[in-house]
Amino acid sequence: MSTMECNEFMEQLGPWMEGERHGSARAHVQSCPECRSFVTDLEAIQAAAPTLSIADPEPPARVWAVLRNQLVDEGVIREQSGIDWQRDRPRFAGLFTRVPRPALAGAYLTLLVLLGFGLTAPVMQQTQPAPTFALAAELDHAEQTTVSSFDSSKSPVSADLHENLEIVDHYIALCEKSVREEPGNDVAREYLYQAYQQKADLLSMITERGDSNQ
């Protein structure tokens, strides 16, 4: 039944997350494991986001600042909207049900990093557990499903972005190795999370540019 391609489905991701699930999109999700997994991730984040302020540890203020700036850049909110981001975090989660792509994709990527900080960074200060790299896997997945959908542009700028994505991936691999070998090394962890942040930023840029080129 479905003739919808992944990129067509990504075009409808915003409405999908708002509950508009038409037959062809539904069929695509059922038949495409990658998109199904992507949507499942998004829904999990959407469901978890409202409880972040209650159940999860406090993420660093800079993460909120990054998220706020990104949403301002993408026109989802206005700088002078009077929103107190610390106070209004639970309400903030609801934004994701209304925002259009690429804002959704960008916010999703940033939220991955947010969850990475929120779930992992505070823990490491207390117990220094063996590291897990679920965040890296999520980012890789986002890279595969999102970037490949917008990979049509062959401009030098696009090539630059992809080249630098490889550089960041390289640093992520180095940092992950370092954290695995020295789980108690906070500086290595800090570098790792910054590399994740860079990757999320780059994926957002690539997504936006791919979108504008179509």
Binding site: S153, S155, Y171, N185, Q194, L202, N213
Partner: protein
Amino acid sequence: MKIEPMRAFSSRRKESSHSAGLRICRTRSKGRKAAALVIPGLLLCSAALADHVEKHFKVDAHPVITLHNPNGTVTVKAWSKSEVMVVATPASDQVEVDAAQTGNRVDIMTHPVSGSISPDGLKADFDIRVPEDAELQIHDDSGAVNVNSVMGDMNVETVGAGVDLADAAGYLTVKTIDGSFQCERCAGRIEVSSISGNFRLTDLRSYQVRAQTSKGNILFSGEFLPNGMYELKNYTGVIEVRFSPGDSFDLSATSLKGKVNNEAKLSPPTHQQHFYSKFNNSLFGSFNSGRAKVELSSFDGTINILKRN
């Protein structure tokens, strides 16, 4: 070549009544276009490509100038007039430049005439004059951005374009992907980030500098102002800081996998307790009375703290 007035485009775009607007482009009537096709010789075309247009906007104190240009060289210089001058040189007929004033804000944007233009072709060069206190917001993916003697706040974002600032002040935020950044005789506050761009910060008088690049070198040669904060960070490459005997700073230098080379005679830190880690190559200490704070950090790069000649 004659530049046609704004009304030539009025059917394609409606300007808001409260904004003074101009669409800058190299324009031709259909008849002239046809003539150009039949007139042999490339000289005329070459001359046409060299065309540029100029527009002036009267502004008040602290004007805001925004520029969105995908590709090209952008040069901004301050002058003493209460006026913004925009000289644009589109690279082809397929490119248009809009410049419009709304209140004390001038917005400049390059865009394609049709949707079929290649990304490489969407290019225009700019020569812009602004009042000294102007605030700048510049997006230029490829090419180069040069800003001279502008004292207002500045935000510059590029992908591959290098950014070269001189005699700037205010709050400067620069973000590139692999474009280099150079700042000479800058003051105020500087925040710069990149993935693979090199940074060169010379003769600075900034009280706060935060510079981070992943695969790039960072050179800092400037004054460490009392109570100033200087954070330089990379993953790989060389971080080089040059100090003079009269400087006063508290130093923290850490390279996880690389080396820290130091020529400063440090005493135990005066203001802050640091913890040496068994994992890293670290150096902590105060130079003179430690009035500024200097934090240098690298993953596997080399950190050099050297005497300034």
